[in-house]
Symmetry: C2
Subunit: 391 residues, 2 copies
């Protein structure tokens, strides 16, 4: 295990109806003039935004609002949010929504107190200062409610890039599983896939002797395998959604990823797909992961065999461990298909003729240097071959 | 799953030689006049205290020292520490040691800024204010480095009692697995047993639909089963100790215990043993757990069968689940014996003729009300019967 630091100072408030206390928590964490940031009409239609407004009003907290965050959130709205914060003297950002809303809120929080262009942070500059922010989560997926990470798409060139920093960790996050019950089955399944991808990205490591984090990752994958299909089959299954919601946070606050190298190949390769085709991130990952794992499997067959046996219940083939490794990848793909995820380029709306462009952007992009991935450094030809496996 | 809040704002610094940065972290978290609190001579002999002094001096931080914390830490030294803090204007407590030292430091931290008797907190008053504290951990066991809990023994009457409060969470904790390499095998095994007990106390719940926390607890138990015997067999096995150290923190910071009722019967029954005989807490737990589980098994056979199958690798007996449940308890006891833990009263130095007194104190004590335990409320006769199972 490698040396590391771990810091997760977010106050988590978990359970039914807890969103009604949001004003109390904004006040507790020092907010007096709030930007309420949200997505499309669903938070309005469901009545959630009204609950938030009532709770803020009840605490005498002033606020301004900025809606319109899209999936794969764009830099354009971030610039608007930064201007609004400065004009209105905002001292606290409240994100009401899923990962896209929270990521957009984080970008605004950092940009509002930075003299330069906020995009600098998405080109490698470390975020050390940001307005405090809180979240009311409406979808279990990104894990952004417990992380210091944010991903934004630059409209010019459609580059999707990430940043990270302790200052971006939410001060509080309200997680009410009931708020996710209005999600369509497809979006629920996309969230489940994203959570599982966060786990695989950490599992695929070159660090030895990491039993504790291996076991924790496996525990969360096993949880998704039990609870995922229940949530997809019955959107009102509160208990399945509760288990998924805590697993989604734990999958990405990094307590199960410390002290080890991580991969993030699948995310990097997927980001180009959702940037170009605006497909759901989780759906993209469902197509990308089996291809990446098949391509990288021979780098460490025993690691893939381990997850196959411990998570997917495959029998270990001691004479041919690579058969066990393959069986685990097949089991993952079958699971994702069973919850309604796509399995190839066509189902995703992606096109074979774009592969050269996708691979080039992934490896070179605007900030990269010719390779991608932490488990096996892949060059442009490797990435092309992986995209071809998805056809 | 039940509603809950979870807040773990401790900054963890993990890995070899990180203790040399302790001065930096004390300063970062606002300390300018420090009480360095420690146990017996081992921190001095190993050179650890000198490293701490050098690091504090290098940062220009003043400090006073108070050593002498015993296992099962006593109120007498806490009162001394409180007086020393007030006399010297201490604004930060640094615990250098294991759970006993950290628990004693927490009591001092709370007592130093409280007008009444600090023992009030151990009789039910909630701690809302305390001096900030940091830790340099030297044994993986209590999990106090990541929790808001503290256990102190009152010398008059030898009552061992616990308190908890967010204000008692350490600001930072330095976890260097190499510092635990000087521990004798017996103490290493006691720590392993304590960690496993923290996991079982959370596993034994009456809350339904808690797959995510069940799986996380199982993951940490599986880690102990793999890494525990390695650490006991070779005290210099850094990697085994690193895995145990992170597991020990995760086992008790409560991320795997949220949203569910917990038990704590074994701890309550053990506390009377270590208070009366001054035996090691972990050794006491090794004797207590199999007895408690055997006594309580029929309350929820399937829960005991689940841990038997998932953690201990027992075959599920679908016709006779109670046989599987029993096999899991036997496997736990065999494991604890294999790492050198005692299995009965005699090996612990406990006496049959004290059983009435032990059971009475456990159920009535100075603050209890006739029963103990969250999984099955046990009265004095139940507890007597459990002690008799340990003969």
């Amino acid at each position: 295990m490698d040396n590391f630091t771990f810091y997760s100072p977010t106050y988590f408030v978990f359970g039914k109806d807890e969103e009604n206390k949001v004003g109390h928590y904004v006040k507790r964490f020092g907010g007096s003039k709030v930007l309420v940031h949200f997505g499309g009409g669903s938070a309005e239609r469901s009545g959630l935004l009204n609950k938030v407004r009532q709770s803020l009003n009840a605490e005498g907290i002033e606020f301004v609002e900025l809606g319109g965050v899209q999936p794969n959130p764009r830099d354009g709205l971030v610039y608007q949010g930064i201007e609004l914060c400065r004009k209105s003297g905002v001292d606290f950002i409240l994100a009401v929504g899923g990962g896209s809303v929270i990521d957009s809120a984080k970008a605004i929080a950092a940009g509002a107190v930075y003299d330069g262009d906020f995009w600098d942070y998405y080109e490698g500059k470390v975020v050390t200062k940001a307005l405090p922010l809180g979240t009311v989560l409406t979808i279990s997926a990104a894990g952004s409610e417990g992380s210091g990470d944010s991903v934004i798409t630059k409209e010019q060139g459609m580059y999707k890039r990430a940043t990270t920093g302790e200052a971006l960790r939410p001060k509080f996050s309200i997680l009410d599983p009931a708020l996710t019950q209005t999600l369509p089955a497809y979006q629920t399944a996309c969230g489940i896939t994203d959570i599982m991808a966060h786990l695989y990205e950490r599992y695929l490591t070159n660090t030895k002797e990491v039993e504790v984090t291996d076991r924790l990752i496996e525990a969360l994958l096993l949880t998704m395998i039990k609870e995922g299909p229940r949530a997809v089959a019955d959107s009102n299954d509160y208990q399945a959604r509760a288990n998924i919601m805590w697993a989604g946070m734990m999958a990405h606050n990094n307590s199960c990823g410390v002290g080890r190298t991580q991969d993030w190949t699948s995310h990097n390769i997927e980001h180009e797909l959702s940037a170009l085709y605006d497909c759901a991130h989780g759906a993209g990952l469902a197509v990308v992961m089996p291809a990446v794992f098949t391509y990288n499997m021979h780098h460490d067959v025993m690691r893939f065999a381990q997850v196959a046996v411990r998570v997917w219940g495959c029998q270990m083939d001691f004479e041919h461990p690579e058969e066990t490794a393959k069986a685990g990848i097949k089991a993952l793909q079958a699971f994702l298909t069973s919850i309604g995820m796509p399995k190839n380029f066509a189902q995703l709306g992606a096109k074979e003729e774009d592969i050269d462009e996708l691979a080039h952007k992934c490896c070179w992009g605007d900030v990269n240097t010719g390779t991608t991935g932490g488990f096996v450094p892949l060059n442009e030809d490797d990435v092309k071959a992986i995209y071809k496996l998805m056809l």
